[in-house]
């Protein structure tokens, strides 16, 4: 089978490894923005090649497809989906796994995703306000309380400000930060002025996890849950990143998520997919994911949607998948997913750690252009995998950082203690050659962090149980104002 994979990073490297491990003979070609050494190798070993093109340009990708003439095209990242790459390929008669432009709107526009949930009364929805006009946003944010300020459009997971505002004596400075964040988002996204720019949403607390699925539009095949770790640094400190690692297992659950919570999550995912397709009038063939949080407010709660596999979430599943993954992708693309089963190794868990150059994510220029080297043999000896992410092969044959997460280490074992130890050992085989520091999170997969998540899950479960018993799920009561009654809008501050 001849496959064309579109995308350049570690997510695509994980997909490439899953695709080439198919029982069928596979010839893998890759359309990537830069020469990712990992993708290049996977392609060439299978008898295919890597094409360096701008994957955000539908015509360019279609050109590669016409040259390769694949049986299946897999579109990995969201940005090409937003630009209509999958549509251009389908128009030319290719069988494509990956959301169309219309379907990927569920990720591109954070407003649309939320609107869907409210319109159809889907549980796990948060209160929000979206703004096209700077002056309206600025006016609203003056009165906002305990909220999250986000760009209304997906911009690589950047620009999210979580401003917990529960102490009146710090509220003034927080209001200033919210206003500053609104202003900055408008400046950065000015080109999208016809669209919503800023989203202000209810802040919730709890335990985050990702629920991914594969669908052909009518049949939804859920994947095991994954927890990813967005903070750049140890102890969940610092910047939001695309994800500094993740864990999954055992089975389909996580150590701190129950079967009931998993099932409630799958129900939300299923309903959103159904309503999304109705709303946009298009068939969804591809990967879909809910970035979820277990909260006291709702139990499983939607933070945002992805119209693709998560990165690093798919890496976490890669070593645990026992089925022929390519067959599932192919059947989803051909609307023949009904009855398909995914077998994953029930008794193993996985730990993924991203390795990034110091300076990522706030100072990407500084973090770029550093030569790095990996002893892949030693990583393989440990039974772990290495995924190439934001690294590029230079004309001198050396590998250079491109400013984002450079590698992902993927280790699976029978329990977290072992998987953690393997991953910790494996990261030591990635080195920088010019003395520029690389960093990773040693706490991911550790007993301490798992314990902390378990405690947090217990706390929010108690809140959830008491809200459920009193019939107030999803409801927040902000303040009682004498003469006006209870203000139930959680976006408003009791102070202003």
């Amino acid at each position: 089978m001849r496959v064309l994979l579109v995308g350049s990073g570690a997510r695509e490297h994980a997909l490439a490894k899953l695709i080439v491990s198919s029982q069928n003979a596979v010839e893998l070609h890759v359309a990537a923005d830069y020469v990712n050494p990992g993708l290049k190798r996977e392609a060439e070993r299978s008898g295919g090649r890597l094409f360096a093109v701008d994957t955000n340009v539908p015509r360019a990708v279609a050109g590669v497809a016409e040259e390769v003439s694949p049986d299946l095209v897999v579109v990995g990242p969201e940005e090409p989906q937003f630009r209509g790459v999958a549509d251009a390929l389908r128009e030319r008669g290719f069988s494509v796994f990956g959301a169309s432009r219309a379907c990927s709107e569920v990720e591109r526009s954070k407003v649309f995703g939320r609107y869907l949930m409210w319109k159809h009364g889907i549980p796990g929805r948060l209160h929000f306000m979206a703004f096209r006009s700077l002056s309206e946003a600025e006016e609203f944010v003056k009165y906002a309380g305990d909220v999250v300020v986000k760009p209304a459009r997906q911009v690589g997971g950047k620009g999210v400000r979580v401003i917990r505002d529960t102490k009146a004596f710090l509220s003034e400075t927080k209001q200033q930060v919210k206003s500053g964040s609104v202003l900055r988002t408008f400046e950065e996204l000015r080109s999208l002025a016809e669209d919503y720019v800023v989203l202000v949403e209810q802040r919730v607390e709890g335990v985050e996890y990702t629920a991914q699925a594969i669908t052909d539009g009518s049949y939804v095949l859920p994947l095991p849950l994954v927890q990813d770790y967005p903070h750049a640094y140890e102890l969940d400190l610092g910047y939001e990143t695309g994800g500094m690692g993740c864990i999954s297992g055992p089975g389909y659950l996580l150590p701190f998520i129950t079967r009931d919570e998993y099932e409630a999550t799958e129900k939300i995912v299923g309903r959103v997919l159904e309503k999304l397709q109705e709303e946009v009038g298009d068939r969804y063939a591809g990967a879909f994911a809910g970035q979820m949080m277990l909260t006291g407010l709702w139990g499983p709660t939607v933070i945002e949607f992805y119209s693709r596999f998560g990165d690093p979430e798919i890496a976490c599943l890669m070593p645990r998948v026992e089925s022929d993954f390519l067959e599932l992708l192919d059947r989803a693309a051909r609307s023949a997913l009904a009855g398909a089963k995914l077998r994953v190794s029930e008794d193993t868990v996985s730990v993924v750690k991203a390795i990034a150059p110091a300076g990522y994510p706030a100072f990407k220029k500084e973090a770029s252009g550093h030569p790095v080297v990996v002893d892949e043999g030693r990583i393989r000896e440990l039974g772990c995998h290495l995924l190439y992410a934001s690294v590029e092969q230079g004309i001198d044959g050396m590998m250079y950082t491109k400013g984002s997460r450079a590698f992902e280490i993927v280790c699976a074992a029978e329990d977290y203690e072992r998987a953690y130890r393997l991953a910790e050992a494996a990261v030591s085989y990635v080195k920088s050659l010019d003395g520029w520091p690389l960093y990773y999170r040693s706490d991911i997969g550790s007993r301490q962090l798992l314990e902390a998540r378990r405690r947090e899950a217990e706390r929010v479960r108690t809140v959830h149980a008491s809200k459920q018993a009193r019939g107030t799920l999803g409801e927040t009561f902000t303040v009682w104002m004498p003469g006006r009654g209870i203000v139930a809008n959680p976006l408003l501050s009791p102070l202003r």
């Binding site: 979580v162 102490k167 004596f169 967005p230 400190l237 910047y239 110091a358």
Partner: protein, 419 residues
């Protein structure tokens, strides 16, 4: 000994002045009389009293360290180096040497690795925990190998990292406590990297027993131990030493209240609030002169008469230094209110010597239990009975809470240790 605080804002636009101000307020019970804050400005680190600090400069700096300074000898608590300032939680003659070593480590390629190496030399128990801020916006916070005083790290969303002597400050700043730094552990932070490092073996680390007995706030968590629960547990142990029947259990505000709650629960006698204070809360034990100490004691102790009149009373306190507080309590209850019997119980062993590490600033000459026997003290205080916890009780609590303590001022070298 005092409290230290450090804040690193990953994102711009935060008015750090407010965070420092409220953070220090939440550490004010740890002693000190002057609030110093340091921030960076055009490749230099500036320091000043919080009252007169440059609010805009602090916001632009994005990083700050701050401490309560001990009025007497703050020169040993602040070291202004070439490119960095170091603040410690107590004065130490070694601080200038440490500050120099830290600055040297920070000038290398891999500062966190070098810090591990440099700080290993300071196994000595008298070394204080400290925070260093460099002109380049790097922060180093280290908990001394021997541990004595606590440090915790917190996070505020994607925006801030905070370290504090006590968790109370992190929580008051609307942030989440993420970890307690254990003895020998430190953290290196900048906007480009955050690294935990460990220097030396924490197995030899011990926490100052006074931290849990007296210094920390009830709402803090020290090394994973709930201060309130620890105090209540020691109060329960006091039940073994109450030999006469009593009608009511009370505690000397505020530190002793959880001990009194524990004793009340252990012996099944009601706990009652006994005193109301006037003016703001003062830590009487930390006062300099006898006059100041007595003023603080007298201000915090107006009795609620109906609780005590004609009653047999168990009065609980955390410890006894000069006995001045308990003397005041006894006189008030016996003569002004008319309590029938007074039984005093102390939730710690007898204080007998000075702190060899400079953590607790108590003068052994002023420790009544080092100079008089029980019957003499009973007579002086004018109480019917007087009892202290024993070493075995604190040992029991140490094991219950998986802690290791230094009890040098109680004449006990080390307690607990099944970490």
């Amino acid at each position: 000994m005092t409290g230290i605080l450090s804040i690193l804002a990953f994102e711009p636009g935060w008015e750090l002045h407010r965070f420092v101000s409220y953070g220090l307020e939440a550490l004010s019970h740890r002693g000190g009389s002057r609030r110093l804050v340091c921030w960076r400005r055009s490749e230099r680190v500036l320091c000043g009293d919080l009252e007169s600090a440059d609010v805009r400069g602090l916001a632009e700096s994005g990083t700050a360290i701050a401490a309560w300074l001990d009025g007497r000898r703050f020169d040993g608590q602040v070291i202004e180096g070439e490119n960095a300032v170091t603040l410690s939680d107590r004065p130490s003659g070694l601080l200038s040497e440490i500050a120099r070593d830290v600055e040297r480590a920070l000038s290398t390629d891999r500062p966190y690795a070098k810090l591990e190496e440099e700080l290993r030399a300071y196994e000595d128990t008298s070394v204080p925990s400290f925070a260093t801020l460099t002109s380049g916006g790097e922060l180093v916070v280290w908990r001394t190998n021997s541990g004595l005083t606590p440090l915790s790290i917190g996070g505020y969303g994607f925006d801030m990292a905070i370290t504090s002597s006590e968790t109370s400050a992190i929580e008051m700043l609307d942030a989440d406590v993420r970890r307690h730094l254990m003895p020998g552990e430190g953290v290196y932070m900048s906007r480009r990297q955050v690294r935990l490092f460990r220097s030396g073996a924490s197995e030899s680390g011990r926490l100052c027993l006074f931290e849990l007995l007296y210094t920390a706030r009830h709402d803090s968590t020290v090394d994973g131990i709930s201060v309130y629960e620890f105090r209540r547990e020691l109060g329960r142990r006091l039940g073994r030493y109450l030999e006469s029947p009593v009608d009511v259990v009370t505690g000397v505000p505020e530190t002793a209240l959880p001990y009194a709650v524990g004793l009340s629960q252990a012996v099944g006698v009601p706990f009652e609030l006994g005193f109301v204070g006037t003016a703001r809360r003062e830590r009487s034990m930390m006062k300099e002169s006898t006059r100041e100490r007595l003023i603080a004691v007298h201000l915090k102790l107006n009795p609620i008469r109906r609780v005590f009149a004609g009653k047999r009373v168990a009065v609980v306190d955390d410890s006894m230094v000069t006995g001045a507080t308990l003397k005041t309590v006894a006189q008030l209850l016996r003569y002004r209110v008319g309590a029938r019997e007074l039984h005093v119980l102390l939730a710690s062993p007898k204080l007998v010597s000075s702190c060899p590490y400079g953590v607790v600033g108590l003068d052994p000459d002023s420790m009544i239990s080092a100079h008089l026997d029980v019957s003499q003290i009973e007579k002086y205080l004018d109480v019917d009975s007087l009892a202290w916890l024993r070493e075995e009780d604190v040992e029991f609590a140490a094991r219950t809470f998986h802690a290791r303590f230094c009890g040098a001022c109680f004449g006990i070298d080390s307690l607990g240790g099944d970490r």
